[in-house]
């Protein structure tokens, strides 16, 4: 099917873009970045925005660099940018590993990291990364700039704290300590399919025990989040099968899984347990 008609706007500067967004947002106007999620929805006429503000030509939105201990990722940065390690440390390696799970190669040449966050699909890999690492999201509008924590940003399936006239201008991922270990596991029916469950585990080892443990689960609930019940069972313990199993069980108990006829809640709960355990084993 063909998308419904819309008015197209192609601003060249951020101020122009924000002014346009302020004008068209109340009229069912949306941002067009990679379009790899929006355009399929438009092709099926599920989404029918009356205006599109194309940010692909906007100056200054393509930052991909370190700044004050964060990796700053601008709104125009494509998934494909992460195929090679963008930082020397564990963060670059983590992002490169996760990038391979994002859709397929031709989608990654157009789709954007920030677009994935703003879309907030439960199956999004970058969303579980942002939630687990406590990324900060910088939202800009004609009314000003505000920074949101991941916990505040992700509100539910396909829902973020972004107002209709706000652009997610950049995401800031805190740089990981050089000795950080990580594991990322995703379960889907076929390579490239939407994730049914994902887990990201990171920790450091100090004197043989895990510290600064982070455990995030995505795909299972409406939004990705860290699981404190699992993290508390890891902190201060030595890596090992029993510990990982206990943490995985805690994660499984904690989640309130999405439920549908294809993937019932009990199945997703099991997957949450399995992905958590595997991610921890991978990190160790």
């Amino acid at each position: 099917m063909k998308p419904a008609p819309f008015d197209y706007h192609a601003p060249k500067t951020l101020d122009e873009a924000l002014a346009m967004l302020a004008r068209v947002a109340p009229l069912e106007g949306r941002v067009l970045a990679g379009g790899q999620s929006l355009v399929p929805a438009m092709a099926l006429r599920l989404a029918q925005p009356a205006h599109l503000v194309d940010i692909n030509g906007v100056q200054g939105l393509d930052r991909l660099e370190r700044d004050a201990g964060d990796l700053v990722i601008g709104a125009r940065v494509r998934h494909a940018a992460f195929h090679r390690r963008v930082t020397d440390g564990p963060l670059g390696a983590l992002l490169a590993q996760v990038a391979r799970h994002v859709a397929h190669y031709p989608i990654r040449t157009r789709g954007t990291f920030c677009g994935s966050l703003a879309n907030a699909d439960p199956a999004s890999e970058w969303c579980v990364v942002a939630a687990t690492l406590d990324a900060r999201m910088v939202a800009k509008s004609a009314r000003g700039t505000r920074t949101l924590s991941a916990a505040d940003f992700f509100q539910g399936a396909m829902t973020t704290a972004l107002a209709a006239d706000e652009l997610l201008a950049e995401a800031r991922l805190p740089e990981l300590a050089p000795d950080t270990r990580f594991g990322f596991q995703e379960f889907s029916r076929r390579a490239g399919d939407f994730a049914i469950a994902m887990a990201l585990a990171t920790f450091r080892l100090e004197k043989g025990v895990m510290v600064q443990a982070r455990l995030g689960v995505g795909g299972v609930e409406g939004r990705p989040r860290r699981i404190p019940e699992a993290e508390s069972l890891l902190e201060g313990k030595r890596p090992g099968q029993e510990t990982f199993r206990a943490a995985a069980d805690a994660a499984a108990r904690s989640v309130a899984p999405l439920d549908d006829s294809r993937y019932p809640a009990a199945y997703r709960r099991d997957l949450a347990r399995a992905m958590t355990r595997r991610a921890l084993e991978e990190a160790a």
Partner: protein
């Protein structure tokens, strides 16, 4: 799919019950909702705006209060609605159970929702519906609390009807409730 939510209302159960059955009033607390017709004291036609990301659905349909138990403060609502643009439809059976709680009343909501059409098939919407519904219920709760705080509801409860229909309806409901 079936799922559970809760809603806290800062009113004692009897008043919360009366308020929640005042469909015309609480409809305005449902985000994006509009009541278009009162068919009878149990049946209401209207529309609700539901957003799943870039997909803005307007579900036009009907809600009917099925079982009303005024003694135990339980009510079930059968609702169905469809998107005028043909993108899908929904059927739901929602049970509300009011219990006293610290701060007023806790409403336990059990929903059984079916989605059909494009939104279910292509939008992977069926898995996300509970997340969307929870958000809707959350916003409804916030709006309701704001309404109560502004003094627009409760306090007078049974003594002050909002409209003639409500008086008639309430009387009918009370008597029905006692028959059980």
């Amino acid at each position: 799919m079936e799922f559970d939510d809760t809603l806290d209302v800062p009113l004692p159960p009897a008043e919360a019950w009366t308020l929640l059955l005042d469909i015309e009033r609480i409809a305005t607390c449902i985000p994006g909702a509009e009541l278009t017709e009162v068919v009878d004291e149990r049946t209401y036609k209207g529309k609700v705006a539901v957003r799943i990301g870039p997909v803005a659905l307007s579900l036009v349909g009907q809600a009917r209060l099925e079982e009303i138990d005024a003694e135990r403060h339980r009510v079930s609502v059968k609702a169905h609605g469809s998107d005028p643009k043909g993108r899908g439809s929904t059927e739901a059976m929602i049970r509300f159970n009011l219990e006293p709680a610290a701060g007023g009343t806790r409403v336990a909501i059990h929903s059984d929702v079916k989605l059909a059409g494009a939104i279910a098939q292509y939008g992977r919407g069926s898995g996300m519906i509970q997340s969307v519904a929870s958000q809707l219920i959350g916003q409804f709760g916030d709006n309701l609390k704001a309404r109560i705080a502004a003094g627009g509801a409760g306090g007078q409860g049974a003594a002050k009807p909002i409209s003639g229909l409500t008086v008639l309806g309430k009387a009918a409901w009370e008597s029905l409730g006692k028959k059980r």
